[in-house]
């Protein structure tokens, strides 16, 4: 009886060890995949893009366009700046020269003053790409990979 009890306890311990090992492996796997996702997202490069036939637009001009002080491209085409949901903070800091919060506050002041029309909000990368393809004056922010795949003109890459 004692022997059976010992064998039972030993088997139960082995089972617990196996279960613990399996869960540990699962947790490790999840951790690794999460980190991979995090770093891949972190490392994703964004680009300010335009219609393939659009002229080059330097960063100073992009700032003016997004702040409503420039309404036409160098070739005279009416410009339509767009902002995708979740535009990275880096875009505002590097291109506009102010934080995301200040950018939206800036536009609230311009709107109250009766100023220009703010950049157009787009829901998804897909919508931004479609708009840019259809409109020579449209400018948007999409991932570099997607911009290359769609053959859009990359104006600036934001890392």
């Amino acid at each position: 009886m004692e022997k059976i009890k010992k064998t039972y306890i030993s088997e139960m311990r082995k089972g617990i060890r196996k279960l613990f090992f399996t869960f540990s492996l699962l947790a490790f796997g999840m951790l690794v995949s999460s980190l991979a996702c995090y770093f891949s997202a972190y490392a994703q490069e964004f680009a300010v893009v335009a219609h393939p036939s659009a002229p080059d637009i330097p960063i100073e001009e992009l700032k003016k366009i997004y702040l409503g002080d420039k309404k036409n491209l160098p070739d005279g085409t009416k410009v339509t700046p767009t902002l995708i949901k979740g535009t990275p903070e880096e875009f505002f800091q590097k291109v506009i020269g102010m934080g995301k919060k200040q950018f939206f506050q800036y536009w609230m002041i311009r709107i109250v003053g009766g100023g220009s029309i703010p950049p157009k909000d787009v829901e998804s990368e897909e919508q931004a790409i479609n708009l840019i393809r259809e409109n020579k004056g449209a400018i948007g922010i999409v991932s570099v990979d997607r911009a290359k795949k769609e053959g859009l003109k990359i104006l600036i890459v934001i890392k």
Binding site: K64, F104, Q105, M108, V112
Partner: protein
């Protein structure tokens, strides 16, 4: 059995005629609205615009307020219903339309006005942008003088301050500058690197206190306002000039002719994540009496720290107003709303010789919401001083944008 007499027949004709008119009107309106609807649908891709709602609520402790109609005087704490504004703009190609409709509760202690009069067009104009250098607007907008009025006039929640300086008050609050501008405006800008030099020129209905309102120009005297400026985004250096002739009616049934020449200077430094410094000064000289008055203000504000992206931005404000004895414009306004054509005035100092000192903090919770706390102290010459302790919550939200 009903006999059709001449009268009943005529009545029937009248009813039929009215009915026909009603049908015609309905058909015409339907056609018109259908036309507008189909035009908009057809051109929807080319139409841009936005609509925003913004407003403010709060409470004040007022040190000493006089309510003549009730014969009461004393300290008072009051919650204010604040303001609620609808702002919308539509642009189609080079044409644009803009409207701002505030819904503001009027102070019934001072005003005997129907409730609908608390809803009006604050600004309402149509414009056409011929080029960057020349745009034309027709309708009602704000006077070209200075910076704060034109840029931040009703958006209290965006300003770092709690109360506007008295010199920037609207005419119906005893303000001395031409703020409401109904007429024609030409404006333009050009680019020199990051800087944008520009101009605004307005020909508007005469003086709002004595000579005109949104609809009529009683004394047929036009007001001319202009400003030249150089701006860089929200920063601006500007020089304003204006000519505002009008007649002040006297008790004897005659009038005093006033020719106000207005000059203003504004230095406006606005870094939304740094220093905000606004300085404006105005001189108003009556060419008839050869006397002058004026005032100005200085506002300084800087964010001292951020907590979870909430910005804590203290501010300091200083302002003044003064005039020479014998200036009919300032003296008449100083007599109060009862004496002038205006039939309403806000609680608080109107046109008074004063110094104002204010301080407080703006807590920017998001670009759409802010809470402010401040104290405004008015050192009023020859009268009891006055102060307000105020707390305000302001907001602005987009309804649509395309």
């Amino acid at each position: 059995m009903t006999f059709l007499t001449k009268e009943t027949f005529c009545m029937k004709d009248k009813i039929t005629f009215k009915f026909s008119i009603a049908i015609l009107r309905r058909v015409f309106l339907n056609a018109l609205f259908s036309l507008i609807f189909f035009s908009i649908s057809a051109r929807a891709q080319e139409i841009e615009g936005y609509m925003f709602l913004y407003g403010e609520v709060g409470a004040d402790y007022i040190s000493d307020v006089e309510i003549p109609s009730l014969g009461k005087r004393g300290g008072n704490i009051a919650f204010s219903l604040g303001t609620f504004d609808i702002i919308a703009k539509i642009a189609y190609g080079k044409a644009e339309g803009f409207v701002e409709i505030p819904i503001t509760p009027l102070n019934t202690l001072y005003v005997e006005a129907p409730i609908w009069s608390s809803i009006w067009f604050e600004r309402f104009y149509f414009g056409y942008n011929f080029s960057e250098l020349f745009s034309l607007k027709i309708g009602g907008t704000y006077g070209a003088m200075g910076y704060l009025t034109r840029n931040w006039h009703r958006a209290y929640y965006l300003m770092p301050i709690v109360r506007r300086p008295i010199i920037t008050n609207a005419e119906d609050e005893g303000g001395v500058l031409p703020l409401y501008a109904t007429g024609v405006e030409a404006s333009g800008e050009t680019s020199i690197g990051e800087f944008r030099p520009g101009y605004i020129f307005q020909v508007i209905n005469g003086n709002y206190h004595f000579g005109s309102d949104d609809f009529l120009d009683y004394d047929k005297e036009r007001t001319f306002l202009g400003k030249i400026y150089i701006r860089r985004y929200l920063e601006e250096i500007g020089i304003s000039l204006g000519y505002d002739p009008f007649r002040i009616p006297t008790d004897e049934g005659e009038s005093i002719y006033v020719q106000n020449l207005i000059a203003g200077l504004n230095l406006s430094y606005v870094k939304l994540d740094g220093l905000i410094g606004l300085a404006e000064v105005f001189i108003i000289r009556d060419l008839q009496s050869k006397t002058q008055g004026g005032g100005g203000f200085l506002i300084l504000s800087y964010p001292i720290f951020y907590a979870d992206e909430i910005e804590f931005r203290p501010f300091l404000q200083f302002g003044f107003m003064d005039w020479q004895e014998g200036n009919p414009f300032f003296e008449k306004l100083n007599e109060g709303a009862e004496e002038v054509r205006l039939n309403y005035v806000s609680v608080g100092p109107g046109t008074v010789k004063h110094f104002e000192y204010a301080g407080g903090i703006r807590i920017g919770i998001s670009p759409n919401f802010a809470v402010k706390l401040g104290i405004n102290y008015y050192d009023i010459r020859d009268e009891k001083d006055l102060y307000y302790i105020s707390v305000r919550a302001g907001w602005g939200i987009p309804v649509f944008g395309r």
